[in-house]
Amino acid sequence: MKVLLAVDGSKYTKKALAFLINHESLVNSNDELFVLNVQLQVPARVRAMLGSAEVAEYHREESDKVLNPIKKFLDKHALNYRCAFVVGHPVEEILKAAATEKSHLLVMGTRGHGLIGRVLIGSIAQRVVAECDIPVLLVT
């Protein structure tokens, strides 16, 4: 099975990883795990001020902060995975990745860094579920 895991480094990312690993049935060495981190675009004005090289460097650093611990974790569990980051809108990028990767299952948190409280489902998860054609596993 091809699994797409959308990560932002929040506690839900950790929970999703723990769930995937604890249930070997979900991802084992025969499966392909694609870990995607979506970085929000820096406002155009800031981009113009800093220069695109600086901004690219910033995104790389930020994504490393999210992805490096995950890589370490997945290496330890000897899983077949790839990591990537893109800059853009999370909903669009997640949907795009699910399509291009031909994923069978999408795993993400019900919310990311932004929201506190248990009443709401994050708007990103909400929109992804609404527009995604493949099953979505939401980790709370």
Partner: protein, 140 residues
């Protein structure tokens, strides 16, 4: 893994078991699928008028109509399963039974057609997501 599948009576009921059984690593030997069919509440007034025996007979019949085909489907694929049904307050019951039966994941079908339903997941799915402590798999 023990999975709780919340089955309403819509067209979307067939998708989740199909996805689960197609991906053998999700429901293999040693795993169990608890199939929970939730029925709408009937107003107390109508229930009084009909008499509780009548209502129970009606509910049992409807539950059988939903659960029997699922049971047959799962038996054919040699998935160990247990069927039950409840009436009223679907989300709360799903959470409660997932706890009682120590489910590790909840699976629900979500509606994917029409503009409105594309924007919102069902209210039951929303409530389950907000309150569940275990991951929820939404299948379209």
């Amino acid at each position: 893994m023990r999975i709780l599948f919340a089955a309403d009576s819509s067209n979307f009921t067939k998708k989740p078991p199909t996805f689960l059984t197609n991906n053998k690593n999700l429901l293999g030997a040693g795993d169990e699928l608890v199939v929970l069919h939730e029925q709408d509440a009937i107003s107390a007034q109508i229930e009084r008028k009909l008499g509780s025996a009548e209502v129970t007979a009606y509910r049992t019949k409807r539950a059988d109509a939903v659960l029997n085909p699922i049971k047959k489907f799962l038996d054919k694929r040699a998935v160990s399963s247990r069927c039950l049904w409840v009436a009223g307050a679907a989300a709360g019951q799903i959470i409660e039974i997932s706890k009682r039966d120590h489910a590790q994941m909840i699976v629900m079908g979500v509606h994917g057609h029409g503009l409105l339903s594309r924007m919102f997941m069902g209210s039951v799915a929303q409530k389950v997501l907000a309150e569940s402590k275990i991951p929820t798999l939404l299948v379209k």
